[in-house]
Symmetry: C2
Subunit: 203 residues, 2 copies
């Protein structure tokens, strides 16, 4: 029998983990907008070809890294969490969840500014990321709306334009106004914008 080789191939999970870790550490060290595939490949000990096979840009890779750590986050909201709460409380929970999904990033404020400066570029990879973000946002919003309809807190499902507003407002407040997502900001968005617009659809 032979000993396992020292240079044994990493499992796919281990490799992904190394790449994501390297990207986030480098992003924090150099500034997110300065990292390149070349530097990530050195730090994570993978070929650049491997990186190019999976992502179209360092931004795509960084965004995947944030998603990856966010999904393994223990504070993930479960659909059943919404059933016992009011529409207002559920909207606050969902918006705070968006904030918590960036907590795995070493420097969340500068990551958000970077995220917005990249996402405005109209390239296919960004269109995919925005579509995915909208889908996730819509998934949580629809869970919340279903509960509110069942309890007759709402009479009608809000339009797609309104259901996108929570995510869009948070991205704007973080990326353009450089506001930190706080319970105070989220409560203001819910009370002044979301509840009035959602309720007005009942007419």
């Amino acid at each position: 029998m032979t000993e396992p080789k020292q240079t044994e191939r990493r499992t796919k999970t281990a490799l992904l983990n190394d790449v994501y870790q390297a990207a986030l550490v480098l992003g924090n060290e150099l500034g997110y907008n300065r990292i390149t595939f070349s530097e990530i490949s050195k730090r994570a000990n993978v070929t650049r070809a491997t990186l190019y096979r999976h992502w179209q840009s360092p931004f795509g890779l960084l965004y995947a890294a944030v998603q990856y750590y966010s999904e393994s986050h223990p504070n993930q909201v479960q659909p059943s969490d919404f059933e016992q709460q009011s529409l207002r409380q559920n909207l606050i929970t969902a918006l705070m969840r968006f904030e918590s999904s960036f907590r795995s990033v070493p420097n969340p404020d500068s990551f958000m500014a970077y995220f917005v400066s990249e996402i405005v570029k109209d390239v296919p990879e960004n269109r995919e990321i925005l579509a995915e973000l909208k889908t996730t946002n819509r998934y949580y919003m629809n869970l919340i709306i279903d509960v509110a309809l069942a309890k007759q807190e709402l009479q009608q499902r809000p339009s797609d334009f309104l259901l996108n507003l929570p995510m869009e407002t948070l991205i704007y407040q973080m990326g353009v106004n450089h506001q930190r997502i706080s319970e105070k900001l989220v409560t203001m968005i819910v009370d002044q914008m979301l509840i009035p617009t959602f309720e007005s659809q009942a007419k």
Copy 2:
């Protein structure tokens, strides 16, 4: 008596006009995000030192150029235009005015994407531009709200957060969602978002 010299200094207005014209033409030719002070100085026949004295970046210069042509635009809204119309109609007019202020730009869609990609950078010049945009937006919103309060269409002045929403929503729709500002989009924003939130403040 001597003839006026051919190399006579341009008036300040003529110089500004040449610089702004050069910046917009180059922006359209090369892409707004690619132009430099060096190229603008050659095209407008001014020294780079002159440009650096007035602006901190080509973005600051381009934004000033758009403002300059927008202010000389014949379709400028006058405060008195708001007096005879409903709150709803006035909001639609104000949002369409925002769109018309970019009509002087050779390629408005790509200028807006460029504008958002620059404005997210947290530098002093951008904070000034955003503050100025908010002030202009607030000026028009307050004119409209004053009329609506006088006519008792509204009982209370909406919060600053709500009064910033028209501008913020348009910037997001143009810069991130790459939507063209149309009467249809503006009407949706007014009917689904602005009117319900403004009216809910009466409670």
